[in-house]
């Protein structure tokens, strides 16, 4: 039997709770799996001769099920119960899938891509990592770069020289589509995740700009300790971009872990969000919260409620700023100079954004 198929069958067997009780036999009853176990299981003659398919056969001590692969195999479990039968049927289904669409992963690159897309089971990842000599236990994190590709140049082609030049020993980059490239960054030389990852992303972004004139959006997932988990990091990096572009459209680097509040608000049902948002942002306050006022308040929050810094940044007199904040307080009862009131306001403001439709993709 093809070693790759056997390896996949073993992965599938190992993924079942009853793995220790299931054996994979050849047509003569020789034990193929678990690997390392030798010997033979006696298959009832009636079952061997019959052409019954997809139906379990209850022997004296075991339940058997044939699987029509090439060469055929027999699954065996040490009981007759319905649960045991279900395990065999489930495993047989999985094996048939493998047989119809055999996973032929030719190179490391493809392994990384399939793992990122979470198309492989953990046990399969392990088997493939071993086959392609990929370190299984290594802390890595995903940076997803989204760039508008041109007709003549894909995102990968634009980024490749920079990613290659900055590459640490265990870094890998993978093209997910024409506009999306993933950098699998080894955490080995990273000290202080938030700061270092932001710096790395910013540096790459600036170098990309200066080389190609192109800008990019970067999402950064959480670090993961094993290869099998990097798909989660990739999912987080994409989620960071999705959420970040709604709440922080002026930025271009989004760290999943820095967007806790925003993610929470995105998970708030739209109706609930709209209900709370309208407590402040309603017809009565429409004139108060004009563009200038909202810009003022957002800058005040960005400057950590510091009046002088905000006034300087907005190029308005400090008294003008105080006057505007007083006006908000008079009309809404919220004194934005106070932390609690500022938090309330910020939440209600963000709830308005969370109700918006998703922004269009970068490309």
């Amino acid at each position: 039997m093809d070693s790759q198929l056997l390896s996949r069958i073993e992965s599938a067997r190992c993924s079942l709770m009853a793995k220790d009780r299931i054996r994979v036999l050849d047509a003569e009853g020789n034990i193929l799996l678990p690997a390392g176990e030798t010997g033979r299981v006696s298959i009832p003659e009636y079952f061997t001769l019959s052409d019954v398919q997809d139906r379990p056969y209850f022997g004296e001590n075991n339940t058997f099920l044939k699987v029509d692969v090439t060469p055929p195999i027999v699954l065996c479990i040490d009981d007759h119960g319905p649960v045991e039968t279900d395990f065999l049927v489930l495993l047989a289904e999985l094996i048939k899938q493998f047989n119809h669409e055999p996973v032929t992963i030719q190179n490391q690159y493809e392994v990384y891509k399939r793992v990122l897309l979470e198309e492989l089971m953990a046990s399969e990842v392990e088997a493939l990592a071993s086959e392609h000599q990929i370190e299984m236990e290594q802390e890595r994190c995903v940076l997803t770069f989204q760039i508008v590709a041109t007709e003549s140049q894909s995102a990968k082609e634009m980024l490749e020289p920079i990613l290659r030049e900055q590459k640490a020993k265990d870094d890998r980059f993978v093209e997910m589509d024409r506009h999306t490239v993933v950098l699998l960054k080894s955490m080995e030389e990273i000290d202080g995740f938030d700061h270092d990852m932001r710096d790395l992303a910013e540096r790459i972004s600036q170098d990309l700009s200066m080389e190609t004139g192109k800008s990019c959006i970067i999402g950064i997932g959480e670090p993961r300790r094993t290869l099998a988990e990097i798909g989660e990091s990739y999912r987080e990096s994409r989620r960071a971009v999705e959420v970040g572009r709604i709440f922080l459209p002026d930025e271009h680097i989004y760290l999943y872990r820095s967007l806790v509040l925003e993610r929470f608000l995105m998970d708030t049902p739209r109706e609930t969000g709209a209900r709370y948002h309208s407590i402040l942002f309603n017809r009565k306050n429409a004139r108060l919260f004009n563009e200038e006022m909202l810009h003022t308040i957002e800058m005040f929050f960005a400057k950590d409620l510091n009046l002088s810094d905000t006034a300087r940044q907005l190029y308005i007199h400090r008294n003008t700023l105080v006057y505007r904040l007083d006006k908000v307080q008079r009309q809404t009862g919220l004194d934005l100079r106070k932390f609690d009131d500022a938090v309330t306001f910020k939440m209600m403001l963000l709830l308005g954004k969370s109700g918006q439709d998703k922004p269009r993709p970068v490309y």
Partner: protein, 375 residues
């Protein structure tokens, strides 16, 4: 080294949002040009267009004799220092500085020579083997400058490069960049929202607002002859005091009346009026804080040009004192910058002298200056 010409440059974003309008500027070789203005005025967008990071919607950009509108940033012979001076965290200072050269496949020996030369200029030779995390904010900023220097560009572009540094370091780096400009003898274009940075660093300053150039001039001229109310208020700290005033001809002279106050405008100033018809009209009068005095030696020669005001707040700054004065001519405070030995105290009602030769006048509607420059 190169001159630049920005010829009727526009930046228009989708939705017909105009970020930069009709920007015209000739920059001479080796000049240190500062673009300054409040946030959203278009200064960074202009710089990014020069860098090639933003497409130019209309107009022509020349670096030297070459039109570069459609030239990729890497082929413009420029180097840019960004506001965020990020470095590759896993690389040494040396490798960070060499990065751009390696991308260009320069020979190893040449890279080594250029990196070491730049490190010497910036006095960071001893840091070359360190990783960024072992550097202070100022040292990182130097490395960021080093990345630009090694490329030996014709033009250095700097987008608020000091704004992430603390106040003390900012002052120090300001001087360092000025020295660097003198040493490299290259064209610098520098963007800041900080008028002090602009005044201390630029050979010429471009003041911008709402996407339009307001004035282009030397720091001293901007300060002394602001073209409009905005420039008058933006340049100088504390900012210029403004009053709604009326120019009235009486008693053989012209008087500026504001609130219940009146001061005589010197004839030399009146001669500079662009249009005599302003006499009898409402104008905006401006005076800088340092041109308002409370010392006896000024009061005694003020020739009646005194204004009575109540001292609401005094701020001793060490080398000077700011008086925040209340007078019926102005809703807010009048700010005076006086000698630190001033005897004025909070709550006092005092007389202050306006140095009338230093008055500024602006058209109330157009906000443009109504004074010509003296010959």
């Amino acid at each position: 080294m190169a001159s630049l010409k920005l010829d009727h440059i526009y930046k228009i974003y989708s939705g017909n949002v105009t970020a930069v309008s009709d920007f015209c500027l000739d920059i001479e070789d080796k000049e240190f040009i500062v673009l300054v203005g409040p946030s959203g005025c278009g200064k960074s967008t202009t710089l990014r267009m020069v860098a090639g990071l933003e497409e130019i919607s209309a107009g022509d950009l020349f670096i030297g004799d070459r039109r570069v509108n459609d030239v990729a940033p890497k082929d413009r012979d420029i180097a840019m220092v960004f506001q965020n001076y990020a470095l590759y965290p896993h690389m040494t200072v040396y490798d960070n500085m060499a990065f751009g050269l390696k991308l260009r496949k320069k020979p190893k020996e040449e890279i080594d020579k250029l990196v070491r030369e730049a490190a010497k200029i910036l006095s960071i030779e001893q840091l070359l083997n360190r990783k960024p995390k072992a550097l202070s904010g100022g040292q990182r900023q130097r490395v960021a400058l080093g990345r630009a220097i090694v490329r030996d560009p014709k033009v250095f572009l700097m987008d608020e490069p000091l704004s992430n540094l603390d106040a003390k370091l900012r002052v120090q780096m300001r001087t360092e960049i000025t020295k660097l400009h003198q040493r490299l003898q290259t064209t610098f274009i520098y963007v800041t929202h900080d008028q002090t940075e602009a005044m201390t660093m630029g050979t010429r300053i471009v003041v911008m607002k709402d996407g339009f150039i307001q004035q282009v001039d030397t720091p001293q001229n901007l300060y002394d002859y602001p073209a409009n109310l905005f420039v008058g208020s933006f340049i100088g700290s504390p900012q210029m005091n403004f009053f709604n005033a009326k120019l009235v001809a009486r008693d053989g002279g012209v008087w500026a009346e504001f609130g219940s106050n009146a001061i005589r405008v010197p004839d030399s100033k009146i001669r500079l009026l662009t249009d005599e018809s302003y006499i009898g009209k409402e104008v905006v009068m401006g005076i800088r804080p340092e041109n308002i005095h409370d010392e006896e030696r000024f009061l005694s020669v003020a020739d009646g040009n005194l204004v009575e005001a109540k001292v609401e707040v005094t701020e001793l700054m060490g080398s000077e004192t700011y008086l925040y004065l209340k007078n019926d001519a102005k809703e807010g405070n009048i700010v005076a910058r006086v000698d630190p030995r001033s005897t004025s105290h909070m709550g006092d009602t005092i007389k202050v002298a306006f140095e009338t030769s230093r008055l500024h006048f602006f058209d109330k509607d157009t906000e443009k200056t109504i004074l010509r420059r003296p010959d």
